[in-house]
């Protein structure tokens, strides 16, 4: 059984580990760190201690022979035959990681009809495209996609497997990782190769974005991660790149599934998925009434943007849930986010802080949103926004 120990002769009682613990499990008693049952063995104190006085012991390591694994496999995502942009971002990131240790990048594409897509994947960074085509692979379904991918991983032994942290990636990857008895890190925002061990350092936000945790999977392979869309950069397509296309032989029961998609209901006409929006005009408690969202709609239309809202506006029933930005809503990464009458509590912040440009309008100059926006305007949104609309129209003439 794993355990944590403070070496009494080495601990100097400096107390640095006390605040390093995210669980408040360490106290100082007689100049010695004492660890309570609140401890989850997360390892934060072990790395904080400059004296090597805290040691976490684990049982024996897993049995995977990690030397046999090499290269990076990306899980491609497509809808209606179009490769999702997040896949190209993963290929770009995989390429960068592969350059570091000279390994190769492959991608698995499961689709109805591949057409020119394998070439597109190669031009964006893949060395090998593993391809399966079948009418039953037109839509994502958990069981066939996981079964086929698991078999490919077992055969090809990639050291790293990446998928986008979309609803597809976050459905599929945990199932694969559990079945292959290996580790998975969710929603990474940074990946790098540890120069000492050659392992993948996977960094992700946790505790509502309050901390960044770096996670490793040292004893099992592959090292699996889902990666937040719109964080990594895709390569500029290079038509001169060459690569191989390898067909996956489907087995008779590969396509069996206990779930079936009866229907796909796209978002209503004119309604955009806010996670894909480039501009979001968002309103919060300061909007005061549902009809007041009309001016935000007008501004959003002018900028070809979508409407977002804080939890306060959703709970009041002013805007529907698909528009909620934040911890219990969606995480968005638009180019521009205009927050109107939103205080900027941490639950909202975690959903929009990766926007390229954050503008905030709020009457209360002590609102937390002014602590992290790029440009803030202290004033009444009902006075300012109509002028903004007028000004945009004037300048466009």
């Amino acid at each position: 059984m794993a355990s944590i120990e403070v070496r009494k002769d080495t601990c100097v009682g400096c107390g640095i580990c006390v605040p390093a613990c995210p669980f408040g499990a360490i106290t100082m008693e007689d100049s010695l760190a004492v660890i309570s049952d609140e401890c989850t063995l997360c390892g934060a104190c072990e790395s904080s201690c400059s004296f090597g006085a805290i040691i976490i012991r684990t049982g024996e390591a897993g049995g995977t022979e990690i030397d046999q694994y090499s290269g990076i496999l990306v899980l491609a995502e497509q809808r209606d035959g179009i490769i999702d942009h997040s896949t190209l971002e993963l290929l770009g990131e995989a390429r960068r990681l592969a350059e570091a240790d000279g390994s190769s990048v492959s991608v698995i594409l499961l689709t109805e009809k591949a057409g020119n897509r394998p070439a597109e994947l190669i031009s964006c960074g893949a060395d090998t495209v593993y391809l399966a085509e079948d009418t039953q692979l037109k839509h994502f379904r958990t069981e066939p996609f996981s079964k086929i991918t698991e078999r490919l991983i077992t055969e090809k032994k990639p050291a790293v497997v990446l998928a986008a942290a979309t609803t597809t990636g976050r459905d599929l990857m945990p199932r694969i990782a559990k079945n292959l008895n290996t580790g998975l890190t969710a929603d990474c925002t940074e990946l790098s190769i540890d120069t000492e061990s050659g392992g993948l350092l996977q960094t992700r936000p946790a505790f509502g974005g309050n901390i960044l945790a770096t996670i490793v999977c040292s004893d099992t392979r592959p090292q699996m991660a889902t990666v937040r869309p719109r964080v990594m950069k895709a390569m500029d397509p290079d038509e001169t790149r060459t690569g191989a296309i390898e067909k996956i032989e489907l087995q008779p029961d590969d396509l069996a599934s206990r779930t079936e998609v009866l229907e796909f209901k796209p978002l209503d006409e004119g309604e955009v998925d806010i996670t894909e929006a480039e501009v979001i005009v968002a309103g919060g408690r300061g909007l005061k009434a549902p009809e007041n969202f009309d001016i935000l709609h007008e501004l959003a239309n002018l900028l070809d943007g979508s409407i977002g809202a804080s939890r306060a506006a959703i709970d009041a029933g002013w805007v529907s849930y698909p528009h909620q930005v934040g911890q219990t809503g969606k995480t968005v990464q638009p180019k521009t986010y205009i927050a109107c009458g939103i205080s900027g509590a941490v639950q909202h912040r975690v959903g929009m802080q990766s926007a390229d440009l954050i503008l905030a309008v709020n009457k209360d100059e002590t609102a937390p949103i002014f602590e992290f926006c790029d440009v803030g305007f202290v004033g009444d949104l009902f006075e300012i926004i109509p002028f903004v609309i007028k000004e945009i129209k004037r300048r466009r003439k």
């Binding site: 794993a2 390093a20 995210p22 669980f23 049952d37 997360c42 390892g43 934060a44 976490i56 049982g59 839509h139 958990t142 609803t167 976050r170 945990p174 990782a177 559990k178 079945n179 008895n181 580790g183 998975l184 969710a186 509502g208 901390i211 960044l212 945790a213 770096t214 996670i215 490793v216 999977c217 206990r258 779930t259 998609v261 009866l262 796909f264 998925d273 480039e278 501009v279 900028l303 070809d304 909620q324 911890q327 219990t328 180019k335 205009i338 509590a345 390229d356 954050i358 503008l359 100059e365 602590e371 790029d374 440009v375 803030g376 202290v378 004033g379 300012i384 926004i385 000004e391 300048r395």
Partner: protein, 261 residues
């Protein structure tokens, strides 16, 4: 209908503050709560129990004090609760957590559906639900907005994905993970509160679940946290005061600098 709801006790991340000097989390006085998404899973489970009959059993894996969230769930209307607690479970990542929860589901027996929140607000991984399904070799439906139909052998649910919503039918047993949109969780009732005070909550440890040490807690976890840092503060924005018309012009100026204008 036997439904198991897997819940988690989490720190109220809204209350977490950063010690700016040390760059660490201040956890003192931060209350522990029932993971908000799990409340929607619990409500969805109880809604269908009320309609079809059966039992709702809440389970959680955690330290002894995690019992509090089970009592809270009972006060809201859950019928039974089991606490999975053992020093050997400490340090579990999503692999080991889902493995342990799945064993408990097997021990409970004859379960038709496992429901859980789409993710917990401390780790935000959304991995435990699908991993439970993999451990049990059951189908899974994730990111469910609502369960539309449910009977003895199948279920139809709406799954929210990028760009729309899939209507999915699944055979039972199945694991589903629930979004906030599913329902409005009920408040604890007086009768529920009384029951929650009296109910005996069994505690199952590693040996009760017949699990080897190598499959639980830190030893059973393929991943490990090696470093925790706080994100760089981005607070160097410019703040403008003034007349609304002037502020509006400045706002449009900032838009001009971006690509959206």
């Amino acid at each position: 209908m036997r439904i198991v709801v897997a819940v988690k006790q989490v720190p109220d991340t809204a209350e977490v503050r950063i010690d700016e000097e040390r760059g660490t989390l201040i956890r003192e006085g931060v209350p522990s709560i029932l993971n908000p998404f799990d409340e929607y899973a619990l409500e969805e489970a109880m809604k269908w129990r009320d309609e079809l009959g059966g039992t709702v059993t809440v389970i959680t894996m955690g330290p002894p004090q995690a019992e509090a969230v089970l009592r809270e769930a009972v006060s809201m209307g859950a019928d039974e609760a089991v606490l999975l607690s053992d020093r050997a479970f400490a340090g579990a990542d999503t692999w080991a957590t889902s493995h342990t929860l799945a064993k408990a589901v097997e021990k409970i027996g004859d379960v038709d559906i496992v429901m859980t929140g789409k993710q917990a607000i401390d780790g935000d991984t959304a991995q435990t639900g699908p991993s439970i399904a993999a451990s049990l070799d059951w189908p899974q439906v994730t990111f469910v907005g609502s369960v539309r139909e449910l009977n003895g052998d199948s279920m139809v649910a709406e799954r929210y994905v990028e760009g729309g919503c899939e209507v999915i039918r699944s055979s039972l047993p199945v694991v589903i993970t629930v979004l906030k949109d599913a329902n409005t969780p009920r408040l604890p009732s007086l009768r529920g509160k009384m029951k929650s005070r009296k109910i005996e909550i069994p505690v199952w440890g590693r040996e009760d679940l017949d699990l080897p040490e190598s499959e639980v807690g830190l030893d059973g976890s393929p991943t490990r946290v090696v470093k925790i840092t706080t994100p760089e503060s981005t607070s160097n924005g410019e703040i403008h005061h003034g007349e609304p018309e002037d502020l509006a012009k400045l706002l449009v100026d900032s838009l001009l600098g971006s690509e959206v204008f």
